[in-house]
């Protein structure tokens, strides 16, 4: 049995999470800190709140479990990502900050899948994005895309 070293992560709202080092190093940022040997105390994560960290840890733990099939992981991911876009946003920023490329990829793909097949107005509605084009810009866009509407 390998020794399980526990790391303590402290989120922006002061909550502490204890986690196996072997799981936590899914974050390249945490891995670098471990390798540079500066993890004697809790690792501060000022850019991640506890609600988001809980979800990230849920993902890391599932993806560290032994004996989980690819299909089971896919099912887990599907359910994990079935959240409001505001949760996805926080997760994406956290995954980027923690430098977990796999998680960033998975979330980016989910966001892309929610964009595909939608008109601009539908995309705006899905993600609460404001149409900030001026009328002149709208006209320029319409002309540039004119070939598509012939």
């Amino acid at each position: 049995m390998s020794s399980t070293k526990l790391l303590t992560l402290k989120t922006s709202d002061g909550e502490e999470f204890k986690l196996d080092e072997a799981v936590a190093v899914k974050s390249q940022a945490i891995k670098n800190m471990v390798e540079d040997d500066c993890v004697s105390n809790a690792i501060p994560l000022p850019n991640v709140d506890s609600k988001t960290m809980t979800k990230v840890i849920e993902y890391w733990k599932k993806h560290s479990e032994e004996g989980v099939s690819k299909d089971q992981l896919n099912d887990f991911d599907k359910g994990f990502l079935e959240v409001h876009h505001s949760v996805l946003y926080d997760l994406l920023l956290a995954a980027n900050y923690l430098n977990d490329k796999e998680l960033v990829d998975v979330i980016c793909q989910e966001v892309a899948d929610r964009i595909k097949g939608k008109t601009p107005e539908e995309i705006r509605k899905e993600f609460d994005i404001k149409n900030d084009f001026t009328p002149e810009e709208e006209e320029k866009i319409r002309q540039e895309n004119a070939w598509a509407f012939d």
């Binding site: 946003y89 960033v104 980016c108 892309a112 601009p120 993600f127 994005i129 149409n131 866009i141």
Partner: protein, 346 residues
């Protein structure tokens, strides 16, 4: 009758009590929506790249000014992916136009391009004139990109490392030109299964010998690490040439190459030399395309009475491999099978 009314009244009272006790504190305002437009630019680009070229040009770039700017940034267009199945609902001219726009926006930084079900020699030339950094090309079912067309542009891709061609008529001319001009080529796919019947007249004009492609690869692509020749007609002669000519080969996909016999020394040599070897009868479970062989125009063909294995391989049937358990599969081109006049075996 009065009882129910009283019940309702009581419930109302309870509600009124509840609301009156909390009426002093207004409900908290909903949290503001997250500022998707404020994401780091490279993440927005990552997301939009995954949406695919067609949907970006038609829809995503028109959402807001931030996304418009990201979609005009050359770094967004280092990868052009026009291989979605949904794209083939669109007109070929529109797809060609969109591909050209995407290439223009890359401003010479294009590294990888994937095209499926459209495109011709002119488009390939357009891409080649503007994308000297290209490392990775994938062409699926681009029936109007010809052997000569590829040969004509090969010198414009000096940094090419991966070339993947599925279901096309690329042969010796194209292979020689790519081999000569693309000295960095490490990975080559020429998966040819399924459409030979459709273009048999073109192939007959090219006078292809079954080992032509294999011999051209062996003579011109010495740096290959990975080679896939799914459904190729080559015999052991071609395979031997490849093993001799591509000494650095680590991965070789020979599935559906039914004219090869790996039972003897050549098979042993293959297994020794190649780390990741897929043999002719290996499972196609993970193959991304349906292994479909179609006979489009058998009527004008004349075949000698004693059909050789190579000759039989020119004769195609509606035969969907996915319908069969691969262990039960036997070589339809074996002379054990007799053919009726319509080309079906019994």
């Amino acid at each position: 009758m009065p009882k129910p009314k009283r019940l309702v009244w009581r419930i109302k009272q309870r509600n009124q009590k509840a609301t009156s006790s909390s009426s002093s504190a207004p409900p908290p305002p909903p949290p503001p929506p997250p500022p998707w437009v404020e994401l780091p630019r490279e993440i927005t680009a990552d997301i939009l790249r995954r949406v695919g070229t067609v949907e970006v040009l038609l829809n995503a770039q028109r959402v807001c000014s931030t996304w418009w700017k990201v979609c005009h940034d050359p770094t967004m267009w280092r990868v052009i992916d026009m291989s979605s199945d949904k794209d083939c609902d669109r007109d070929d001219d529109d797809l060609t136009k969109m591909c050209q726009i995407a290439v223009d926006r890359s401003q010479g930084q294009l590294l990888e391009i994937k095209i499926k079900d459209f495109g011709d020699d002119d488009l390939l030339d357009y891409i080649s004139q503007r994308s000297s950094q290209l490392r990775h090309i994938r062409l699926v079912c681009c029936e109007y990109i010809s052997d000569g067309g590829l040969a004509a542009v090969a010198e414009n891709f000096p940094l090419l490392e991966e070339l993947h061609i599925y279901l096309s008529v690329i042969s010796t001319v194209g292979i020689e030109a790519v081999g000569r001009s693309c000295s960095q080529l490490k990975s080559f796919t020429l998966n040819d299964c399924g459409f030979r019947g459709f273009r048999r007249d073109r192939i007959r004009n090219l006078q292809i010998n079954v080992n032509d492609q294999a011999l051209a690869i062996a003579a011109n692509m010495p740096e290959l690490r990975r080679l896939a020749l799914f459904g190729n007609n080559m015999t052991n002669e071609g395979l031997c040439a490849i093993l001799d000519g591509c000494p650095r080969l680590e991965s070789l996909d020979l599935r559906h190459c039914y004219s090869i016999d790996l039972k003897g020394d050549l098979g042993t040599r293959c297994r020794q030399q190649i780390i990741d070897l897929k043999c002719p009868y290996d499972s196609t479970h993970d193959y991304e395309f349906i292994n479909h062989i179609c006979d489009y125009d058998s009527s004008d063909d004349e075949y000698p009475s004693g059909l050789s294995e190579a000759g039989l391989s020119d004769y195609f049937y509606d035969y969907d491999f996915d319908d069969f358990d691969y262990d039960d599969f036997t070589n339809p081109f074996s002379s054990d099978y007799l053919l009726d006049e319509d080309g079906f075996f019994w």
